[in-house]
């Protein structure tokens, strides 16, 4: 079953394009990554799904219901964490979380306490006295306190120290195991890499690829580094090699093709060291943005 179905979604801000003809689906139980550089349209897409902004054309369904028409009903099952968090400055954390919980028709006290404990959040402080990282923690707790079926994260980790990030990812994974679907936008690819099942790559308002993380990585590209005193880069000008660079007795390139042939070629020369590895998502990503 699809939790999110986006169909030809387009949003123009006046004449400025936000997103254009964006279509993809997110299945139940997935952790779905949504990656692209700043200004590519990630937030625009998420804000449209949440009913914060209204599409110029196209539509989107969440839980099988139109996101505008049934917005308020749908949102009772969504937990949202924006990239920048702002709350009512004069309120105490405790009161803000209570206010947040009052929108859902269930008792969230237990979950509030659990999450605050994990995130080491002091409930008695005023929002205005909190550091950015601590505000972010408030955001995480308020986004998850109602145990949503769909968690939407818009660049969620900025402002969290690595330790907290790890805790945060643990929480997200746990929620996912319990059955929540996670929609996760980011420009930090390493985050997406070890968390997500599938990713959509967005660029200039267009989704240019939706792919399994595995396929993306196993797209059979290998990153090859060869070290040696007298390497001839001309030897490597066969099909399947790309982005060949030669620097200081070292050759770097990406390879897609028969590995035996590659090894044969490398074997023709005297080599000091050799490294064949999977490219990082970052590098694959650059490939799409070239």
């Amino acid at each position: 079953m699809n939790i999110i179905e986006i169909n030809q979604l387009t949003k123009f801000y006046g004449k400025v394009k936000g997103i254009e003809n964006v279509s993809f689906n997110v299945k139940e139980g997935e952790i779905f990554g949504f990656i692209g550089p700043n200004g590519a349209g990630k937030s625009t897409t998420i804000r449209t799904l949440l009913g914060l902004i209204f599409p110029t054309s196209g539509s989107a369904k969440l839980f099988g219901k139109d996101c505008i028409e049934f917005g308020s009903k749908i949102r009772s099952e969504i937990g949202y964490l924006p990239s920048e968090v702002f709350y009512y400055e004069k309120m105490k954390v405790k009161d803000l979380l209570k206010y947040s919980a009052s929108f859902y028709k269930k008792d969230c006290t237990k979950r509030i306490n659990e999450l605050s404990e994990i995130m080491e959040l002091n409930l008695n402080r005023r929002i205005e006295d909190l550091s950015y990282g601590n505000k972010k923690k408030v955001g995480i707790v308020q986004g998850l306190l109602h145990e949503p079926k769909l968690i939407m994260l818009d660049e969620p980790t900025s402002g969290l120290d690595p330790l907290m990030q790890q805790k945060f990812f643990d929480i997200i994974s746990e929620e996912n195991k319990k059955g929540s679907t996670v929609f996760f936008s980011s420009h930090i690819l390493s985050e997406v890499q070890h968390l997500c099942n599938r990713v959509a790559i967005i660029k200039d308002g267009h989704v240019i690829k939706v792919e399994d993380i595995k396929t993306l990585r196993e797209d059979n590209y290998k990153k090859v580094t060869v070290k040696g005193e007298s390497l001839d880069s001309n030897l490597y000008s066969f099909e399947g090699v790309s982005q060949l660079t030669s620097f200081d007795h070292m050759l770097n390139f990406f390879y897609k093709g028969d590995v035996n042939f590659l090894i044969e070629t490398i074997g023709k020369q005297k080599v000091q060291d050799i490294l064949i590895e999977d490219p990082s998502l970052e590098e694959i990503f650059m490939h799409y943005y070239k």
Partner: protein, 267 residues
Amino acid sequence: MNIYKFEIKGYFRTLWIWVLSLFALLFMYMAFYPIMSEDAMMMDKILEHYPEELLKAFGMGESISFATVLGYFTFTFVFVQLCLAVQSAYYGFNFLSVEERELTADFLYSKPVTRRSIFFQKYFAAATALLISDIAVWIGSFLAIEIFRGDNSYEINNLLILLASIPIFQVFFFSVGLIVTTLSKKISSVISYAMALSFGLYILNAIRSIVGGELLGMISPYYYFEPGYILMHGKLNLKLTMIAVTIILISNIIGYRLYLKRNIHSL
């Protein structure tokens, strides 16, 4: 109801200041009434020497005598109206724009609540706060008049009609604030907008009373609900009241519709 409660709490943080100020204003002005009424002859003589334009600008053009209770109250009530106008306009400009300005909109609008519900809960919270100011003016007016009027009598019906005009007067400014908010991308400084609107329209009416004619008054609620007129004639000017009601209805309907489709932008 949770948003209503939340908003009301917010209003109550500052509402008591408004209520106290309105009381203080009414009492301070009316406290001088005993002196005025005693030396009525002298006061009226002094005022005779004032340029007529100046008197008109303060809403005392229609040969109201300072000696009578309501004549003096006219003068007081002009300032009460100004206060109420600033407050109502402030609420009007603020109540839908504050979440966007203070960036809490993402929080509120991503909750399972319809725009319609947000609008009405916020609207009624502001209306409640305005009603409390209204009640304060009613109580303050009667108390101040009863305490300071001495043996002078007054036409209570005329006063009741004037006080009954307050809610429309408040909602007028509130509604203008509302429509301007929904028509603009962002309201950056609520207090300056509110001051500009309430004083601007006041000055407009002052100019109208100096230069004469009705045209300028058509767009100033200070003219629709001129205390001098109401206290003297004991009735509202029906035509002008209808204009006020029409402007209120149009602003509310258009404002509401725009709000339902408003895009909430991120930073």
